[in-house]
């Protein structure tokens, strides 16, 4: 059902003619094919629905007025900014897409280490501004080209630096939030006009209904401005980069070091991670380059750091004895960055890393100590600007398994998961054969350590239906494994209960059937009740997981 002229005119009156469109060519570009880009419900052959219009508000007031119109006429709406994932797109036919790119300001309170950001302040911009004043921010795994506000208020938000900087829920201070009913709520100290410094209270925190372990993925209105906590940056005011795309490198000086730490077995690996959780040594801790696969990573690192090399060089490189040696060396590895706040601090951190390696029988990989390789890996991890490399194998990827949580439990089953993936790689040609183990992720998804967040990068061809379908079967098998070992949903199935494979929303009845069987169904019943308060017309799609209270046991 197209928007009536009356409605379209009302929306145009809010943002002006230049900032709204119902042109089919424009609207088509606001559809997502969930076969790639962290749809988190598995590869699918379907596109998300076509929006009736795309609108670009320029202020909180404009957002509020758009939402008022949506409530008046029962139009679904969803705001997105950098459109990384399918969760940013609408889920029904009578819906409009808000594109928040006009709102992009960044203000930094240097002393109190806070940035106040609008939706289109992408992490790269916030980081560039922060570095000028000796600060930095947690850039989640989504990478630096994505909206800081979206990952902080709207989704998960952990990344390589979370061990030092905390994950997004930990960094969120006050927020300005247009509720789905059109009211504007300012959380914490901002509500009383006292400043952006505290997101909690007064009394119980309304911030608790803004986001939990995940944000509501656009299903609870629109955040128009938030404050995020920043963290120390003991480096230069900008990255001293050199090299050619994609192999940019940075010499950050003596107070930054990037190492690939390697271990003889998973027990030693986990013990070393626990040491880092218990100390304040790491700036970044991440198992990054296994994303290319256990058998390929050394060769892939040679390719992506050398502009003269291409993927077709892979077979040759894999025959190289030195590459084989390096691959074997970093079979069970992760990357770290240490950053010295002072010379003495750097000396302590260097010795602490050596001590941990001595106590766990670990070592530093030699190849990753080469100057160019070091400077490449360092910049990669500090900036997270190489998201394109996720796609380099086959054009599409999904994270699978997701053995997150207690690292000591994870390592008990990780090799079983590796074997499942390796068997699939060998027996079928739906996914890339990279060596089974492609587990990547943070050494901690929480500030200070204590909870890991892993995914097995699984590369497939989104334009080959057999590859898409085969990958889905592979993931179904993984889910059985996950359930058997008590790990919850496969990383790739996180959103399987909030959007159908055909791209459309779930109905409440469908949600009830799913969530009445949750371990603690009341969680979803309370989410339903809260939605009733702030989103009485249920206009933001089905990403918020809810259970009709009468159906909670």
């Amino acid at each position: 059902m197209a928007l009536s002229r009356e409605i379209y005119q009302a929306l145009e009156d809010i943002v002006g003619k230049r900032n709204i469109s119902e042109d089919i060519g424009v609207c088509e570009t606001y559809r997502s094919i969930p076969s790639q880009s962290s749809a988190h419900y598995g590869p699918s052959e379907h596109w998300t629905p076509l929006p009736q219009a795309v609108i670009m508000p320029g202020s909180t007031e404009e957002v509020q007025n758009i939402i008022r119109i949506c409530n008046k006429y029962g139009i679904e709406f969803k705001a997105s900014t950098t459109f990384w994932a399918t969760m940013g797109y609408i889920g029904s036919d009578y819906a409009i897409q808000l594109d928040m790119r006009r709102m992009k300001s960044v203000e930094i309170d240097v002393k109190n280490m806070t940035a106040i950001v609008e939706p289109f302040a992408v992490a790269a911009t916030v980081q560039a501004e922060a570095m000028k004043v000796g600060l930095n921010l947690n850039i989640p795994g989504v990478g630096c080209s994505s909206s800081t506000l979206a990952s902080t208020a709207g989704w998960a938000g952990f990344g390589p630096a979370s061990i030092f900087m905390g994950a997004s829920p930990e960094n969120l201070l006050s927020a300005e939030w247009v509720l789905p009913n059109g009211e504007v709520l300012r959380t914490g100290s901002l509500g009383s006009g006292d400043g952006w410094f505290c997101g909690e209270g007064p009394g119980p925190s309304t911030r608790g209904i803004l986001r939990g372990i995940f944000g509501p993925a656009g299903s609870m209105g629109v955040c128009t401005k938030i404050a995020v906590r920043l963290h120390p940056w003991p480096g230069p005011a900008d990255f001293p980069t050199r090299g050619t795309i994609p192999a940019y490198k940075a010499d950050m000086g003596d107070n930054f070091k990037c190492y690939t730490l390697c271990f003889p077995d998973w027990q030693s690996w986990a013990r070393s991670v626990q040491y880092f959780h218990e100390s304040d040594v790491l700036y970044i801790g991440h198992r990054q380059f296994t994303m290319f696969g256990r058998n390929l990573k050394a060769a892939m690192l040679r390719i992506i750091t050398d502009p003269d090399k291409q993927l077709c060089d892979l077979p040759t490189l894999l025959e190289d004895e030195e590459i084989k040696k390096q691959n074997e060396s970093m079979k069970l590895d992760y990357q770290i960055v240490i950053a010295g706040m002072t010379e003495r601090d750097m000396e302590y951190k260097e010795k602490a890393v050596d001590e941990i390696l001595a106590q766990t029988g670990g070592w530093k990989n030699e190849m990753m100590l080469e100057k160019d390789m070091h400077d490449f890996a360092l910049l990669y991890l500090l900036r997270l600007g190489h998201k394109n490399l996720n796609y380099v194998m086959c054009g599409a990827y999904e994270g699978t398994f997701g053995l997150s949580g207690n690292v000591w439990k994870t390592i008990q089953v990780v090799e079983d998961a590796v074997k499942i993936k390796r068997d699939w790689e060998i027996n079928y040609d739906h996914i890339a054969a990279t060596g089974g183990d492609s587990a990547m992720g943070g050494t901690s998804a929480l500030g200070g350590g204590g909870w890991t967040g892993w995914e097995f990068f699984t590369n497939f061809d989104a334009y080959d239906k057999e590859s898409v379908r085969g990958t889905c079967k592979f993931i179904d098998g993984n889910q059985e494994f996950q359930t058997k070992h008590g790990f919850g949903p496969d990383f790739c199935r996180w959103n399987a209960d909030v959007r159908h494979m055909n791209g459309y929303n779930y109905t409440q009845e469908e949600h009830d059937e799913i969530f009445k069987n949750a371990p603690q169904p009341l969680v979803y019943a309370y989410q339903y009740k809260i939605r009733e308060v702030v989103n009485p017309n249920n206009l933001c799609g089905s990403y918020l997981r809810t259970l009709t209270p009468s159906k909670a046991k």
């Binding site: 914490g188 925190s205 372990i213 207690n406 603690q520």
Partner: protein, 487 residues
């Protein structure tokens, strides 16, 4: 009524004794007194749930109390008649300690002394609030967001609190955070190596945040999981004296920014004298001897090259002090770092240290940023002069929190409860200063007593949403009725 309550908790855990009721009718604050109807002491969460269901059926207000007397903030004093005190102090088990995960799970009646002793055996400790009362409940302390001495490890505003079991005002019971994603059976979760580490969630909302700073007005929490730290093998405390609080600002910002120290706070001499002095005479003397202001900086090392870490930070922080024009010392006139450390991290003697000087006190605390603290301090002194309250008695405590993005600013106003003139002056100053601090931008995140009116009146939208949330979790308004409402 009585019979049903006795049926739930047992005869020995029910009381309508006049003396006991009287003891719960008031606290040491200026909150209006009101006698409760009964006092009950549940033994477990099943009984707690039974009490909440009974309260809903009978529309009886319940007031959860976990710490022993005396209380100081008015939150445990009934606001409405026929309230029942739910005394949780008997639920005092340490349910689990995991050295591997650095996690502990405790019931409401567990005190800091009890917990720290048990943790020490495992090589752990819990980041504490400043010299807590001997009978202070750890659970209440973390739920009510009492500021921690170590802001550097406060990654989340709610640290070290992670997950909890809560019986909401509607009688439903669930776990929050990571624990809410597993079976509602703590033992089964522990057997499956799930350690209630992740505080956010369980899903797309943070239900924990519905019970923090709530003064028991949303539900009753019957256990919490807590993130612990390694017990230091070396711990030192240094003191940085200054004439004015502003002289310490650059130094404090600098130390926090690089994440050095494991404890960091600022006090004026009145506050520090109260903390250290064993009696009134000693406090008076200390106030003469101590510097006007002191920043206390703790440094520790644990299992990973502790000597090198401590030595390195000592030298660096000393350099920062020089750059900021202040001195980094192991002692100042009237106090050594070691004395300050010992008093700060250990529970108070049975008589709470804030009562030592004059017998009673009233605190005013709120959240702001470090660079604005001097504005509030100046305003408080001006008001005290106007009200004839002795400015030299005003204690000031600045506790950076949440990694330094904000500070807890606390004014301590001691008075003699036997002297009606002093009582009136303190009360008048408390009332006027509370309003003034709010006007200047002080944020009462924990709005006790008169602060509820002051703070909630500044933010109608938040108040309206809070009321609707309260209606979801406590539809019959039986949980600590009258608190966190506009009057």
């Amino acid at each position: 009524m009585k019979e049903k309550l006795i049926e739930i908790v047992g005869k020995e855990n029910f009381s309508d004794n006049a003396e006991i009721l009287e003891s719960f009718s008031k606290d040491q604050s200026f909150a209006k007194s009101m006698k409760p109807w009964f006092v009950v002491k549940p033994a477990n969460s099943v009984q707690v749930q039974g009490l909440v269901k009974w309260a809903n059926e009978t529309r009886t207000p319940l007031i959860p109390v976990s710490s022993g007397a005396p209380h100081f903030k008015g939150d445990t004093v009934p606001s409405v008649p026929q309230s029942v005190i739910v005394d949780l102090s008997g639920m005092n088990k340490i349910i689990n300690i995991s050295r591997q995960q650095r996690m502990a799970i405790v019931e409401p009646g567990v005190t800091y002394g009890q917990l720290q002793a048990a943790l020490a055996k495992e090589g752990l400790t819990l980041s504490t609030s400043l010299a807590p009362r001997a009978n202070k409940s750890v659970l209440t302390s973390v739920l009510e967001m009492e500021p921690r001495l170590n802001c550097i490890h406060q990654f989340n505003y709610t640290e070290p609190l992670r997950c909890c079991e809560v019986t909401w005002g509607d009688g439903n019971q669930l776990f929050t955070g990571e624990a809410g994603n597993g079976p509602k059976d703590l033992q089964k979760q522990l057997e499956a190596e799930k350690f209630q580490v992740q505080s956010n969630g369980p899903n797309m909302m943070d239900l924990l945040r519905m019970v923090i700073q709530a003064q028991g007005s949303m539900g009753i929490v019957t256990w919490v999981s807590l993130k612990c730290e390694l017990l230091p093998s070396i711990k030192r405390m240094y003191l940085v004296p200054a004439k004015k609080s502003v002289d310490l600002e650059d130094f404090v910002y600098k130390v926090i920014k690089v994440r050095f120290s494991d404890k960091l706070y600022v006090m004026n001499k009145a506050y520090l004298a109260n903390l250290l002095g064993e009696n009134s005479e000693k406090i008076v003397k200390l106030k003469k001897d101590l510097p006007n202001w002191v920043a206390a900086v703790g440094i520790s090392g644990d299992i990973l090259l502790p000597e090198l870490k401590v030595r390195s930070q000592e030298k660096d922080i000393e350099d920062f002090a020089k750059e900021c024009g202040v001195h980094f010392l192991s002692k100042v006139p009237g106090a050594t770092g070691e004395e300050v450390l010992t008093k700060s991290i250990n529970p108070s003697d049975e008589k709470y240290w804030k009562q030592t000087y004059k017998g009673s006190f009233q605190d005013i605390f709120f959240i702001t940023t470090l660079d604005k603290t001097s504005i509030f301090i100046e305003a408080m002194y001006e008001l005290a002069i106007e009200e004839g309250y002795p400015t030299e008695d005003i204690g000031v405590y600045i506790q950076p929190q949440h990694m330094g993005t904000s500070v807890h600013l606390e004014f301590n106003l001691p008075y003699n409860p036997e002297d009606s003139k002093e009582v009136n002056k303190a009360k008048e100053l408390y009332t006027k200063a509370s309003k003034k601090m709010s006007q200047l931008g002080g944020y009462y995140a924990r709005p006790y007593d008169i602060w509820a009116n002051i703070q909630l009146n500044k933010d109608a939208k938040s108040y309206n949403i809070l009321k609707q949330l309260k209606n979801i979790f406590d539809p019959n308004d039986i949980m600590n009725t009258g608190k966190l409402t506009l009057k």
